[in-house]
Amino acid sequence: MSPVVGLARRAIVRWEALLVVMILAAGVWSWTLSSFFLRRANLLDLATPYIFIGLVAFGLTFVVVAGEIDISVMSIMAVAAVSIAEIWSAGVDVWLAALAGLGVAVVLGLANGLLVGLLDVPSLAVTLGTLAAYRGLAYVILGGSSISGLPTGFTDVGGGYISNELPDALLVLLAFALVLGVLLHATRFGRYLYAIGSTREVARFSGIPVARVRVTIFAISGLMAGFAAIVYLGFFGSVQADAASGSELIDVVTAVVLGGVDIFGGSGSILGVLLALILIAVLRNGMQLANLGGATQDMVIGGLLVAAILAGNVLRGAQSRGLPWTRARYARKEVTQAETPGVHSSGT
């Protein structure tokens, strides 16, 4: 607790601090809604259904920080999951199949990246197309059937529990948060992303290999969709070609933007996305325990998204009257580095 409180005291305007407060508030609300909320088994397990969403959101964060968007992520995840299952059912070792699935995911991400990075096609347009094309690929591979019965050792990654209580998938999520947090916030590559996301021209003039970096982020996004596929297969124990073809994409984007990642690029943190995911999980869990209607749940999450950004705007407005920095889109050049949170906060 105390480091979090300390962080909040030092920089109350920090988005991540606001998210922590909101999580606590959501927890209190959930507790008033249902007495089942505060049970330990519930608290440990409440994020498990959203882990694959989180992993995809982490990958998407790299893309959005650099000022691009990738809406084909759920289709990539489906192709990866379908490929892994199909290769495994052909008799190949499941871990080798998983490796192949990751490879497929990276290739699909690369295809997006090459079109965006080298040919300069707008990423929204490209991934709008591949959203459909990759989904078609999943159908071509698996058709209308379903594959299940993958080995327990493999499905434990997404669906197993340590001493019947602590979900393995939660540890997977935290591990990725740590690794990707370091990559985004403590490497030169990460700094490139913020620079490109802030102003691409300036980044190019300052010698950053813009094209290569833009291709790479889509490969990362694809790779994370591949890891998400492994967790998905574990948690649901099976896959169909229509995996995650519903509002999961909206869930991913919600986690990213609620996490404070600027949709126009240039700012955001992995910690923020992680906290946003937890916030969504806490709220959904509380409302489900209280049997609030599914539609009401969607509305509360939507309302929270608007309210949170509005609150952030008001807070920042109040702050910026005293402080010079704002998060306005064009006034962000050198700020990025100062704004970039350190790794210290990525562990939670």
């Binding site: 000022g67 079109l115 040919l119 300069d120 096609v121 707008p122 929204l124 347009a125 490209v126 709008l128 197309g129 591949t130 959203l131 459909a132 094309a133 990759y134 989904r135 078609g136 690929l137 159908y139 071509v140 058709g143 802030s198 102003t199 691409r200 021209e201 300036v202 070609a241 909206i250 984007v253 919600t254 933007v257 600027d262 949709i263 126009f264 209607g293 599914g294 539609a295 009401t296 969607d298 509305m299 999450i301 939507g302 309302g303 998204l305 608007v306 950004i309 509005l310 705007n313 889109r329 064009y330 006034a331 962000r332 050049k333």
Partner: protein
């Protein structure tokens, strides 16, 4: 009406040259598709098939006209599907309980509901300063949630609606389906407004450079709200058209429809960063997508490959478009002094 002194206008001739070329590109792609399918697919080049395509594409075009105005201002409206669903239900429910209500009134109710929803979007974006993609992502969920609350799990079925309303979709004055006439009207008005109305010309200025627009005293906040309001109202009209088409409204009506609309807008050559694009382009874009979809069905493609090829066709189209646009811009830049605002890049820091 030209609006002298504004930056977007100074580059007008250059820009309109590019526009004309770009619509030509989509037009050629459409023509090639039509020729190919006419040769290869049974029954493609028949009047009744084209009437089907026209009905299919009508709702997309109507909603896409509003979406175009929003995208021109460097924003996006993801909530159009939910708005259409809400309008469809509220208007159809009214008609089902009051059979005497004239159908025009029903359409007006739908437009009114959409307008209100669009205004909320506009206020959130322009006054609340929430990025449009976030605000409308939220209202996508909220408006769809309202559909659930409004319907309470109830639904409107054909037998609850008057026969005259049920027959509306099948009517074909002068051979063109009723819904296609609506779309044609909306597209013509929308195109004219964007070309000649000064307030709508401001959309281009805002999208090209919000800062510059503000400096030359364009009322940015009001214009952005207007764009969202129009988008909402047309999504509402789209909801009415959904009700006409299916005579059957439930919580799922128009779910995911925003994808069809945005696809038409993007294929139609509207710059996703705002500032350029035309209704003609968007109409051709919508037609192209509907034609490809229809043609693949008539070619008796496997369902699974069909999804794959449709997506690939979109990728190919946008890639060619981007390459072509790059070449045209290079050519024009070489001939003229680069006086215009660089349209593709972020505004300078």
């Amino acid at each position: 009406m030209k609006a002298p002194g504004r930056p977007a206008v100074s580059a007008q001739t250059l820009v309109s040259a590019v526009f004309r070329l770009r619509e030509l590109g989509i037009g050629i792609a459409l023509l090639l598709t039509v020729v190919l399918f006419s040769v290869r697919a049974t029954n493609f080049a028949t009047v009744s098939n084209w009437q089907d395509i026209a009905s299919d594409v009508a709702v997309v075009i109507v909603v896409a006209v509003g979406e175009t105005m929003v995208v021109l201002t460097r924003n996006i409206d993801l909530s159009v599907g939910s708005i259409a669903g809400l309008s469809a239900y509220l208007s159809a429910e009214t008609l089902s309980t009051h059979h005497g209500v004239p159908i025009v009134v029903m359409a007006l109710i739908a437009v009114g509901v959409g307008l209100a929803a669009g205004l909320v979007n506009g206020l959130l974006v322009a006054v609340g300063r929430i990025p449009a993609i976030i605000a409308t992502l939220a209202t996508l969920s909220i408006y769809r949630g309202l559909v659930f609350q409004a319907t309470g799990g109830d639904y409107v079925f054909p037998n609850e609606l008057p026969q005259s309303f049920q027959n509306l979709a099948a009517e074909k004055p002068l051979g063109l389906p009723f819904l296609a006439w609506v779309a044609l009207g909306v597209a013509l008005v929308g195109g004219a407004v964007l070309r000649w109305a000064p307030w709508a010309r401001d959309f281009y200025a805002i999208g090209s450079s919000p800062e510059a627009a503000r400096l030359v005293a364009v009322p940015v906040v009001r214009r952005v709200i207007t764009a969202f309001a129009i988008s909402g109202a047309l999504a509402g009209l789209g909801g009415f058209m959904f009700a006409v088409r299916f005579a059957n409204v439930d919580t799922n009506t128009a779910r995911g429809f925003e994808f069809d609309v945005i696809t038409a807008v993007v294929i139609g050559g509207v710059n996703v960063f705002g500032g350029s694009g035309t209704i003609l382009g968007v109409t051709l874009g919508a037609l192209l997508v509907a034609t490809i979809d229809n043609g693949f069905t008539l070619l008796k493609f496997s369902e699974f490959w069909k999804i794959f090829f449709e997506g690939t066709a979109i990728v190919v189209a946008v890639t060619l478009d981007a390459l072509l646009k790059g070449r045209v811009q290079d050519a024009l830049r070489r001939r003229r002094r680069p006086a215009s605002i660089p349209r593709e890049q972020e505004a300078p820091a």
